[in-house]
Amino acid sequence: MTAPAITRTMLLWCPDWPITAARQAHGLAAELPIALIEKGKVFACSAAARVDGVSRGIRVREAQSRCPDLIVLAYDASLDNRAFEPIIAAVELLAAGVQVVRPGVCAVRVRGPSRYYGGEKPAALALIGVLDDLGIEGVRVGVADGPFTAEMAARSTRNVFIVAEGGAAEFLAPLPITTLGAPELVDLLLKLGVRTLADFAALPITSVSGRFGAAGTRLHSLASGLDSRPVTARIAPPELDSSIDFEPPLDRIDQVAFSFRQRADEFIQRLTAASLVCTAVLVETWSDRGERVERSWLHPRSFTAADVVDRVRWQLQGDTGSGSGLTAGVTRVRVTPEAVDAIGNHEQGLWGTANDERIHHGLSRVQSMLGHGAVLTATVGGGRMLAERQKLLPWGDRAAAAQPGPWPGHLPPPLPATVFAIPRPVDLIGANGDTVAIDGRGILSAAPAHFSPTGSARELRPVLAWAGPWPIDERWWDAAHRRVASRFQVVDSSGVAWLLVLERRAWWAEARYD
């Protein structure tokens, strides 16, 4: 059996990577105690939290009791990957062919950089220097034969650790068997009295292979310092985003939109060349005051170049209102595809795709006239008040999940056709000539006799029938959103029925049955 070729590997490890990523995303200081939570348990914690006794796997409540000022954030695996992307780019500038082992860990072949920098140690220090410039501190580098040994080397140091060529077995020998991972095998080996990697490596390979199969053989070769896995360079993803810089800054929306038109064309062409269509884009704009505004825009079908330009325009309009001037000059616009799909799923049918395409074009035209939020689709959501039950979404955005009921105290059908978004002030006069009031027990001061739909005395008309009060006492636990009101139905002399709300001694019309 020939000895397998072993790649001399330099491995870079950023400790507590999920914490670093979360800190960058939320702009938190390094010395704060932070814990990332997944499924109610601590997934990762910062050094400050660890000092207070927080550790991986404990419950949130326990972590908070050990460290009362703990900052608790939800763990987001995609954030880890996203935040690691600039690091990979920086390492790629230094050494070709980076393999991402997992977010926070990447490996390169040491041969090229060590020749360029004149040795393995200078190469490793150069790498740490680049990451320091990016603001990533505490990076550790291990250089050894094979990625496994290199990772162990990186974990055993606070800076750089180099295992000499051929010295892997000797370096690994005193490490505990648990470093291999594979919990089932490790448990069994511990029961068999195998406690260090040296003990495991000392077992004859034929016996290990016979007892534990291929997986065991692979771990055996790792323990013996014969990790023959090569460093497989990642294939850099194609650059799909598109940006434009303005010098001098532009202060009119139409100028920005017009200048971006060509970039938008290129953006869509690049996507098309990659056989992709874009269903969500992230538009970022920078102003000359150094502000950055980002927003992601969805599309019910897929973006065309004109749609992208529209989104850029709406985003700028959203900042300033409806005028065409901007409060600050725009220095840079960038568009990044957030969600892409294979172009095959979005191809038009041979005979066209029915009405929907036409309707979408028509509505997009209205959107480009009035703005994104002017064309709405509606769904019925949860709540007791009619206005909060109707959820309006801009055309193209995805609906949030409805809150299922039951909603005790909601209105019995039939429902009013006219729902005032902002309740209108009205007046209800009792038989005694005063505005009808209600006491703490829900007793009315007088039976309603006259109703004024505008609140003015000239519009008063007789009440033919009425019902109520139906008390509403919502969110009593939340002082800011608490609501105590009473609802009434009133039929006036013209046969129109009203849904009235008595709140803080004033009468409002919530809706009209017209």
Binding site: H361, L363, T377, V380, Q390, A417, A447, W466, G495
Partner: protein
């Protein structure tokens, strides 16, 4: 109007033998509609209780109807086309009640709202009429005659129906609720459960106004033609009747 959409018993028998007579009739109808000098010959599905009142027996493609101050009546008009698969657009009516619309049978997935068109409402209405089967609009001010004529020409060309909340100069028919009577509510007890209305349709084609009594809606939230005098039988003692005053 329904001579080609209703299948006579004879045609059913023929159908079982071969589908040809139906096809032939369909094609003949298409030829007639293409040859017609007047474009208002095709109608869109309308709720039968209201269709009977309208000139021509239903809402027509390319025509304009005006409804006086009742969104419920507009929803009743929309329910038929929406259930038949038409897209509906509502322009300039921010207080359009979504939940009531859904209960009336308007498909919310095919309903688009443009509550605040601002001073571009005419352009927006025309753009929406290009793509949607039925458009509801509420003019913020009186439109001038030339823009009304342009919009009417566009509606005829696209075959969309326009329903205007409020008066409109060239409307096919004007619908209004002339009397309304609520059931289920009393003097401090009960709740609104059903409503009987008299819908009056004034048309410039038909001479005198036609009116009819409807349940809008009845106790099961449906629109139905009411048999006169049936209100008291539904809920004796609580029925309440009044004539409209304004």
């Amino acid at each position: 109007m329904f001579e080609y959409s209703q299948v006579s018993p004879v045609a059913v028998v023929l159908d079982e033998v071969s589908p040809a007579p139906d096809r032939v009739r369909d094609l003949q109808a298409r030829i007639t509609s293409m040859q017609a000098t007047k474009l208002d010959t095709r109608s869109i599905p309308t709720h039968p209780a209201i269709a009977a009142l309208l000139p021509g027996g239903g809402l027509k493609e390319g025509a304009t109807y005006s409804v006086d101050n009742s969104i419920t009546l507009i929803m009743a008009l929309l329910a038929g086309p929406s259930a038949a698969g038409a897209w509906c657009g509502v322009v300039g009516i921010p207080e359009f009640g979504i939940e009531a619309a859904a209960r009336f049978g308007i498909d919310l997935e095919r309903l688009v709202l443009i509550p605040e068109p601002g001073d571009q409402w005419l352009a927006v209405t025309a753009a929406i009429a290009d793509v949607m089967g039925v458009v509801v609009t509420k003019p913020p001010s009186r439109a001038n005659d030339s823009s009304v004529a342009r919009l009417a020409a566009r509606l005829r060309q696209r075959g969309s129906t326009l329903i205007v909340l409020g008066p409109w100069p060239q409307s096919e028919a004007m619908l209004s609720i002339s009397a309304s009577e609520w059931n289920g509510i009393g003097d401090g007890h009960g709740y609104l459960s059903a409503r009987q209305v008299t819908v009056t349709v004034t048309s410039r084609l038909a001479g005198r106004p036609r009116s009819s009594q409807l349940w809008l809606p009845d106790r099961s939230e449906k629109i139905n033609a009411a048999v006169p005098g049936s209100a008291s039988s539904v809920l004796p003692g609580r029925a309440l009747r009044q004539e409209a005053t304004g």
